[in-house]
Amino acid sequence: MAAPRIIVVGGGLAGLAAVIKIAEAGGSVDLFSIVPVKRSHSVCAQGGINAAKDLKGEGDSTDKHFDDTIYGGDFLANQTPVKAMCEAAPAIIDLLDRMGVPFNRTPEGLLDFRRFGGTLYQRTAFAGATTGQQLLYALDEQVRRHEAEGKVKKYEGWEFLSAVLDSKGAARGITALNLRTMELKSFPADAVILATGGIGAIFGKSTNSVVCTGSAQSAIFQQGAYYANGEFIQVHPTSIPGEDKLRLMSESARGEGGRVWVPRIAGDKRPFKQIPESDRFYFLEEWYPKYGNLVPRDVATRAIHKVVYENGLGIDGQPMVYLDLTHIDRATLDRKLGGILDIYEKFVGDDPHDVPMKIFPGMHYTMGGIWVDFNQMTNIPGIFAAGECEYQYHGANRLGANSLVSCIYGGFITGPNALAYARSLPAAEGDGGHAAELARQAEINAGLMKNEGTENPFRLWRELGATMTEHVTVIRYNKGLKEADEKIVELIDRYKKVSLADRSQWANTSFAFARQLKNMLELSRVVAQGALLRDESRGAHYKPDFQDRNDERFLKTTKASFTGAAEGPRFEYEEVDTQYIKPRPRSYSATK
């Protein structure tokens, strides 16, 4: 029997981690990515990667990492996979170190660690403040090595459109679009791994990269995959608002001692240096004395919202607060936060060594995602998912520096699991469904290309982003969520009248975007409706009308499935695995 062929879609940390494990175990991989894999969104991760190596003599342990992660996620995550991830994390750091990641060091030449949100331990390994970039490059280099040895074939500049399913509903490959030649093609595989990242684009502006549209997740959702916990969206407390995107300002700025404050007097016109300590409101430190500026992101984000919108204390009356590093010496900042301070200065024009940064929360991370079992397989046989595109590791709120470890860990276990599945897969009947799926995609493409109407896809997208940001982010009301869903339905209807300004068959970005947009719209309903149905507050999901966590009704995983009906997805709920840590109230104002 020929070596199993696995398709990996997405070349960020999770995808590359899966590729490396498969190549190492003797499988062949076809790796699909919209952008050259070295330009994947994982490069944007800044602050670090968590692992309880306890190199600071604080008595940290993987059990504590596990507890912090479960508690930080407000008990919504299934505990078995999270426990396994936390236990695997120290060895993952060692491996990355062996691969040459330039982690910051202690004077003795050992790995340095810093503190991040939602923990009291220094558990975060880091390479300046460009940790994601350094990790992605390390995996990219290992994949290039396997590519040189002929074990990996890259399809960069190809976009996943759909899975090819056989008569029994099992995956037999994918269809993809060549973004340069616009060629539509199907590719056979014995198993498919999706590692397609977050869904920031449905919020218009976010900290995510351009490719993070959730289009692939939505496509397989529409082919029958469950989408889980879609309503859990992380809004990062510190981003830099911009015309084209919200740029991330790493949590490591607070990990290294950065302080968040506003003037106590509303509309205080004094320059920041003339505002004495007594007139500065360090609201996170006052409200959360134990964790201070390092409360988890959902808590910090709501606090900033409160200070700006309820207390009216935003700087100059604007939705902005200070993130202040000016009390830390220049050399320390350059050594530990290298990368992000330059970016702030480049985009804003002020030097954060001298002037406090002005920041505001921005949509950042997708806790929910494609439903997978503990082997990372979706409910569609042969389709696996790893990384941010699946839902498994972060519950209702992700802790800072846990995403990089979940991506790499997820990829590492998904690769071998997909390979094992593929090795026991019987041969397909007939063509495995390739011709039918190819025909279905060709029809969609032809229809879109010649569609006549008055709607511009980029403008529809802006409307989607505006409504999702207004109603489905930090503070959620059922009335607003209903409005958002109605708006999405309106946009889906108007999408039928979409007309492309570009109808050429060469590097047509409008065409590719319009295809993504349809999928974004369908996925947005999962997020908005899932939030509407969950009448409680848990982690990042906060409803002023239902302020308490309601374990009796909602200590459950939301599972949405596509129906194609006008009323939208169907929702069901699944028990959460809480076998190791009994759920307890979550509060960061006291000790836990």
Partner: protein, 249 residues
């Protein structure tokens, strides 16, 4: 009073074989506007300054925070990243062209895969035994980490290659980015096992001796990599390797 506007001139080319044309756009000014946000605005309203309908501009972009290396182009004659090019810092009309040293795909999109081919040719990786748990990595002192980290910040944007007079079809020069990676991996306690292979890969035609020391690369690099220093260090190592190989014969 009319709103403040920004003038753009963008070089368009529908395909590698099509003729190129310049199109003018006039967009409403917004605070903090960058070149990428202007492209997005054009996509949402693809009409030229003289009111003619056109197509959205094809260009590469992804992270928009100058870390993925996608959106390199020539802006007012200078190779740089579109995301970090703030309109307020640019003279108008803002003239935008594709990088000139790489095969054109469409409009501002070019094919820069040569860099990834070069990285493969010089084995720009650390050859680990495997991904199973083999314990911690080699000790690295902070001074060494601080020397290597800047080299590891290369975002593969290819600006250094675009501005290099020696980077052309005639010389086949690999360019500064690849040489910097050779230095990085040769410095690594495990990576240096391939040191000789890498130096030999840079010893022949298109190798390091093609460098004319114009020093344009170090000026164009958006991430301030110490490129000229890397070139002179690797250059010295290549010469030593050549001498060594000669005596072995």
């Amino acid at each position: 009073m009319a709103n403040k506007t920004v003038q753009f001139e963008i070089k368009r080319q529908a395909s590698p074989d099509a003729p190129s044309v310049w199109e003018k756009f006039e967009l409403e000014w917004r605070p903090g506007m960058n070149v990428v946000s202007a492209m997005m605005e054009i996509a949402a309203n693809p009409v030229t300054a003289d009111g003619r309908e056109t197509t959205p501009v094809t260009y590469d972009s992804n992270c928009l925070e100058e870390i993925c290396g996608s959106c390199a182009m020539r802006i007012n004659g200078k190779a740089r990243m579109a995301c970090s090019s703030l309109v307020d810092n640019l003279e108008q009309p803002i003239r935008i062209e594709p990088l000139s040293k790489f095969p054109l795909v469409r409009d501002l999109q070019v094919d820069r895969s040569v860099l990834f081919d070069n990285l493969m040719a010089v084995k720009a990786w650390v050859p680990i035994d495997g991904t199973y748990d083999l314990g911690s990595g080699p000790r690295v002192f902070p001074q060494q980490q601080e020397a290597n980290y800047p080299l590891s910040n290369c975002i593969s944007c290819t600006c250094c290659m675009e501005v290099c007079p020696q980077f052309n079809a005639e010389t086949g020069f690999v360019g500064a980015a690849t040489i910097a990676q050779v230095k990085l991996f040769n410095n690594h306690p495990t990576g240096k096992v391939f040191k000789e292979d890498r130096l030999r890969a840079l010893a022949g035609d298109g190798g390091i001796q093609e460098c004319g020391f114009a020093q344009n690369c170090v000026e164009a690099c958006p991430k301030q990599l110490p490129l000229t220093e890397a070139i002179s260090d690797v250059s010295r190592d290549v010469l030593l390797q050549k001498a060594k190989d000669l005596f072995r014969l």
